[in-house]
Subunit: 222 residues, 2 copies
Amino acid sequence: MSTTAGEVPVAGVGLRPVAVLVVIFTVREGKLQVLLIRRSAAPYQGWWSLPGGLLSPGEGPDQAAVRKLEEETGVRDVYLEQLYTFWDLDSREGLAVAYFALVDARQAHLAQRQEWPPAWWPVDGLPPLAFKNEQVVDYALRRLRAKLEYSNVAYSLLPESFTMSRLQDVYEAILGRRLDKRNFRRRMLSLGIIVPTGRREKEGRHRPAQLYAFKERRPVLF
Amino acid sequence: MSTTAGEVPVAGVGLRPVAVLVVIFTVREGKLQVLLIRRSAAPYQGWWSLPGGLLSPGEGPDQAAVRKLEEETGVRDVYLEQLYTFWDLDSREGLAVAYFALVDARQAHLAQRQEWPPAWWPVDGLPPLAFKNEQVVDYALRRLRAKLEYSNVAYSLLPESFTMSRLQDVYEAILGRRLDKRNFRRRMLSLGIIVPTGRREKEGRHRPAQLYAFKERRPVLF
DNA sequence: CCAAAAGTGTTTACGATACACCCATGT
DNA sequence: ACATGGGTGTATCGTAAACACTTTTGG
């Protein structure tokens, strides 16, 4: 006997605890970093882990991810994408719907908890993580690197306008290697994801630079 | 107060009905087709829909997808990948973890139910579907086309050995356009995903063709 | 001998990469 | 004047695409 998708919930059958889990990336100090919190409850009490939590009543996974993101960083309207749904993370029956988000560290205000406040950690120097969160971070990182090549995801890591050099810094931090300045500029402009604003930057003790902006500040594929 | 990923399930909080949903593709009669079943229960009773159903006790989504696939087609050990977790499909509180699978139609034996047996439908001529299953099929199709370009997923749509022309048929059916024979052959061989077996095909009233096999009959990216 | 499918090379266009010097500004 | 980062062009390579005829076989 076969049932079909969207079956009416039957009490006690197929009911599972569902959590979300958010891999929040930023580029800070020239490095790609991830937001981690410390668990206040067992198991893994005191261990670093990804932010997350159970769905609230009536709430879908997307909404829960948005909520968690805002609780931890104060930001909204950033790049947020569903990653994968894990099942065996905690060897219980629960599901964890994982997301990844990209935030501009300058616009994020981390939750100021008394003890065990959240913190940015460089992806290449993470502490031991609760459950199998390493696996989730790896997965998110692969996806991020892939998307960087053919989408405008980086918009969410930068202020509205920025110089070509700052943009390149972001790409280099995420890809983990240096890029050629001329080729990079050519590629960005020919992809057509950014446009010059006409204004110039005044900061710094050097030649003022052209400012650019993303054409679209929301997810677009090319 | 923030909780962390992998939280212990609290009775009644965050518990949701969880279903799986499987988009089963095959290439038949020169066309890419999807397996559909008809719903035996309300809502959408009698409508065509994707196979799926609630998780059984103790079962994870992956296992449930494998089980469903086998129930409907009799096959195991085929390409099966998690696609996306939908929430708003049926406007209830339930989650649907969607998968897509690729099966060789010659090896599949569809479940022989008395009424409303499952059937293959060409993707470009689907009937109206229950819930928002069209959206799921679209998503699966995009992913399949993308993966075809840089992976060996097609192994799961063909017998162990096959001619270059049969392989090309599969690619053309999925991509929905004709490909150049010489370029196709060159690309397949230079990607290194298939190798000649040395044997030749004897079927047909034409020149016997070289047989090829996939190097790996399991998911590999390139 | 005819129909049907197998098999085979070359040319062209485009995008990706490698590479080094001059310029404008503030101190 | 000098230190700092901004800004620019060309040559090369490799991959992707376009393109048509000959060969082998069975009937």
